[in-house]
Structures are given as C-alpha cells and as structure tokens.
C-alpha cells in the first residue's frame, strides 16, 4: 500500500519539472556472446539498441501521432536506464534485457546458433564545456538468450 502511494502521489500532486536540467543521457548498447563469459575487450561488438532513424519525413511524424509503440517503449527503456543509475533494481535490468531479446528474436538480427547469451551496458553521454564525453557506467548480468519470453 505504501509502495502504491509512493508511486501515485507524484501523479496526484505533480511537480511539473519538465526539462528543468538537461542531465547526462544514457544509451543502451548490447553485445551477443557465445558463452556466459563477459567480453574481455570493451571495444567488442557492442551495438546500440534500437538506434533512432536517420531522418523522419513530416508524414512519418504525423503517423507517429497515432502509432508510436517503438518510440514510447524506447522512452520507457530510457527511464529504466535512469532508474538503474539512480537506484538499481532487478526490475529495470530485467525490462531492458527482456525487450532487447524480444527485438532480436523478432528481427533475427545477428543471432546465430553460436550466440547463446547477451549482455547490455549503459553509456552516459554528457557535455563537458563544449565537448561531448561518454562513459560506461553500468554492465548488466549476462543473460541466456533462450530465456522464455512472454510474447
């Protein structure tokens, strides 16, 4: 009950602090593995999860007013990433892993018979004076790809 109240109160008595500070921004990258052993080299084949499109036409933007599930899910994953950095929970890590695996299975992208596991990491992008810097700030557990999803 207390937990629900804690989640509900910001909605009923909102602070409306939209974009007050432009905080360092997390990016989700993942790597496919052939075993449950973490990659030794950080420069391995880490890929950005669901990179944004190069360009959107005005018509596509209009369409997204009514049908925008991927973008909204990506925004939820950004929230999960921010929660992981502020107050790590298993829930946030599970949500990100689950959705990366679901997308990989849906697109069959880069998954071969040899790839058995997955790991993601969070990169924090921020501006230092006039230059952009990025730091690796989190590594997830290594997750078997065979885990049953609920799709």
């Amino acid at each position: 009950m207390r937990h629900i109240l804690k989640l509900l109160l910001p909605a009923v008595i909102p602070s409306w602090r939209f974009f007050d500070v432009i905080a360092p921004s997390p990016r989700i990258q993942f790597v496919l593995l052939n075993s449950a052993i973490a990659p030794v080299d950080e420069k391995g084949e880490w890929r950005e999860f669901r990179p944004r499109p190069a360009h959107l036409s005005f018509l596509q933007m209009l369409g997204r007013m009514f049908w925008n599930p991927e973008r909204n899910e990506s925004l939820f994953l950004v929230s999960c990433a921010e929660r992981l950095l502020q107050q790590p929970t298993q829930h946030s890590e599970d949500e990100i892993l689950k959705r990366i695996i679901a997308e990989l299975k849906a697109n069959h992208s880069g998954v071969t018979e040899a790839t058995t596991h997955l790991q993601f990491r969070l990169l924090l992008v921020q501006r230092q004076d006039s230059r952009l810097q990025q730091h690796i700030v989190f590594h997830s557990r290594i997750q078997p790809l065979s885990v049953q999803d609920e799709t």
Binding site: I4, L8, P10, A11, P14, D20, H55, M65
Partner: protein, 229 residues
C-alpha cells in the same frame, strides 16, 4: 462551457487518448496485453458514456496496476497527467454535492495551469535555459530527438535561443491568459501546437493527446470562476 459538457468532453478525449495508448501494447508481452486490452475496452466505454463512474474507477485501478507493473510511469509525465485526470474525474463522480464536484474538477484545471507555469519557472531560473544552451543540449546529446537529422538543430544556437525564450515566456504568462476568453482560446491553440511540435520532434505523442484531454476543465474553470466573477 458548462460543467456537464466539460466533464463529458473530458471523458471523450481521455477515452480516445487511452484507446490510442492501449493499442500500442496489443502486440507486446502477454502481461502487458492483460493490462492494456481491458484498458482499451474501458476507454471505449468511457468515450461512449456507458457507466462512466464505474468505468473511471476501474480505469484508475488499472492505472495503479500499471504503476506497479512498470515500477513507475511507463511514459513519465503523460502517464502522470492520465492518472491525475482520472483521479479528478473519479472525485467528480463520487463527490456528494455540486460544490465538491466543482472543487475536484477545478483542481484539474489548476494543475493544468501549473503544468505550464512551473515548467516555465524551473527553466527560467536555470542560466543554461536563459542562454539557450539547454535547448542546444536537448538536440545535441539527449535521448529525445526522434531522428538523427534533428540533431543538426543544435548547430543553430540563435534559433534555439529564440525558441527557448518563446517557450519560457509562453509557459510563464499562461496563467495571465485566463483573464479573457479569447486569450485563453489562443493560449490553448498555441499550447496544442507546442505539444504537437514536441510529438513530431521528440516522439512524445502521448503528451499531445493527454494534455488536450485536460483542456475542457480550464475552459469551464474560466467561465465559472473568472469570467463570472
């Protein structure tokens, strides 16, 4: 706009916003479908005006279940506004007298005004917003731009400076625009265009639909308390 019309219009707009949100989850995970398919059905019932009291209460309970499922809002501010509108609608339905009903609906109208005013206030007290730097950062490295080509906007600091000040001034003067009916109508049109631009540039389509659902409350509030006074 009278009270009954404003509440009815809110139900229709809220129902539409919820139906649109819910459809996006139909081909996702089973546990999400278990929440969003009933939500879609309830949203349609709310739109057609069937047993709105019970439907709104069930939607509110479903909203709480979603908060637990996602350990917070799925889409930040838009989910919070959704719950706030539902909360106020439920209070309107269960309030014992017209006076309490008006207080509940008036609370929604005031929160709508605050949503613009405080968003402007927290920006203008930040030097990075006043210099235009913050909006450059939004386009340069935040996760918000909906496409890579939009990041090019960060190379136009003068344009972004004007845009930042335009947004801050509009948000801060929003409460003053309640003083006349025509200025409020113009303000709501500008605000809707602002949300539409955010939807196009940052993919925040849910904000557009849900904020519009709160507009009838402010139109009623102005007619009831400001113009009548």
């Amino acid at each position: 706009m009278n009270f009954d019309d404003a509440v009815r219009l809110t139900e229709i707009l809220l129902g539409f916003a919820f139906a649109q949100q819910s459809i996006e989850h139909f081909n996702r995970f089973a546990d999400e479908r278990r929440l969003f398919i009933p939500r879609f059905v309830l949203a349609i019932l709310l739109m057609i005006g069937f047993q709105t009291t019970w439907v709104a209460i069930l939607l509110f309970l479903l909203g709480l279940a979603m908060l637990c499922r996602f350990q917070g809002p799925y889409n930040g501010g838009s989910d919070r506004m959704s719950l706030l509108i539902l909360f106020c609608l439920c209070l309107v339905y269960i309030a014992p007298t017209q006076r309490w009903q008006e207080m509940a609906f008036g609370y929604l109208a005031l929160q709508l005004v605050f949503s613009y005013f405080f968003a402007g206030w927290v920006k203008i007290i930040n030097p990075e917003w006043r210099s235009g730097r913050a909006l450059c950062d939004v386009f340069q490295f935040s996760t918000y731009p909906a496409s890579e080509s939009l990041r090019q906007w960060s190379k136009s600091p003068r344009v972004l400076f004007v845009m930042a000040w335009g947004v801050m001034i509009f948000e801060l003067i929003f409460p003053l625009l309640l003083l006349s009916h025509i200025s409020l109508i113009i303000a709501l049109i500008i605000a809707a265009i602002f949300h539409f631009a955010n939807a196009c540039l940052f993919g925040l389509n849910r904000f557009f639909w849900i904020w519009i659902a709160a507009y009838p409350s402010i139109l009623w509030f102005q007619a009831r308390f400001i113009m009548a006074g």
